[in-house]
Assembly symmetry: C2
Homo-oligomer: 211 residues x 2
Amino acid sequence: MNVFIVYAHPEKRSFNSAMKDLAVAALTEQGHQVVVSDLYDMHFWAGAGQGDFIAQSAEPLNLQASQLTALKTAGFAPEIAAEIEKLRACNLLILHFPLWWFSMPAIMKGWIDRVFTYGFAYGVMGGPSTNLAGRKALVVTTTGGPAATYTATTRGTVDDYLKHLLVGSLAFCSMEVLPTFVGYGVAYLDEDARQVVLDNYEAYLEIFEPT
Amino acid sequence: MNVFIVYAHPEKRSFNSAMKDLAVAALTEQGHQVVVSDLYDMHFWAGAGQGDFIAQSAEPLNLQASQLTALKTAGFAPEIAAEIEKLRACNLLILHFPLWWFSMPAIMKGWIDRVFTYGFAYGVMGGPSTNLAGRKALVVTTTGGPAATYTATTRGTVDDYLKHLLVGSLAFCSMEVLPTFVGYGVAYLDEDARQVVLDNYEAYLEIFEPT
């Protein structure tokens, strides 16, 4: 299948980056076609706005209306059109990022804001999308804090904090949202403990092994 | 008191912008000093990373460590240093944005990622901040969907989706988080109904009236 990994971390020598590299290798080894958008490498602009569109207008900007028009007229700026085509082509979308302030890094949120466009990612009346429906979506993240702090009886789970993404964005577009993979407390793990996280992630990815 | 409004909307002729202008006028009228960071106007870069710092290093980037060093050495890039000083000076922080994908626009998340820095906004061991503790924080947002869709028994409240911001960011830094002000369904309101939202917002802001 076609796998599209959207990746946001400013440091290529990070553990988060090593996890992303592992996913690329493991999924390729399984026979999948893997495409990566490295948002920091792309210097991806995060602010949805007039820059998303080729045509400039003196009228007040209405993002949804402009997105719908751009979809019908090939009017998206090239960097947006390219991401939409990668999304359109994928069977599995992986959003891969460190948890910053209990959510995505801003550059990843910008990718959602600009690429999950009205009329493409979700329906004209806000209903289920016909374009993303049924595609798989997987969120992979790493935290500074240990797993024990992210429970329903402590500060809340990672999924609680990511509700805006898991429920409000991916499931909203009728994607099949897979269980979040979290590497907890990676900043404070030694090499052996980090290898356990990598091994666990590799084992998780076996669900994508063709049968 | 000193009020710092951080504002993120790409269209100056939007209703969201009108609400922001109302806040500036009402709070100024009450005798407060109001400073606004208009993130789209500032073309604020959202991606936390090496660009946040004056000194460049060949070592792998560790954001927290670099933030701590920058704090001690006046090492932040000017646009970050300026925002930190505005934050340090304020008694009330207002984050003002449209709800996009059930969260902040990316450019606002980038402001949090880059300005809520380690050692300044939160403690070195992840504990309560001594710098932001007790300051008031208010989130003001507008939605496309009507109020009836944002309840505990429907898709969840706006506060549920904003947990990462309200709990994970503002309260995490020991700020006093005020009840979120939401203008619901503003895209579909007529002028009279929009005036009601403005009137309600103006009434809400009376809590800041000096006694």
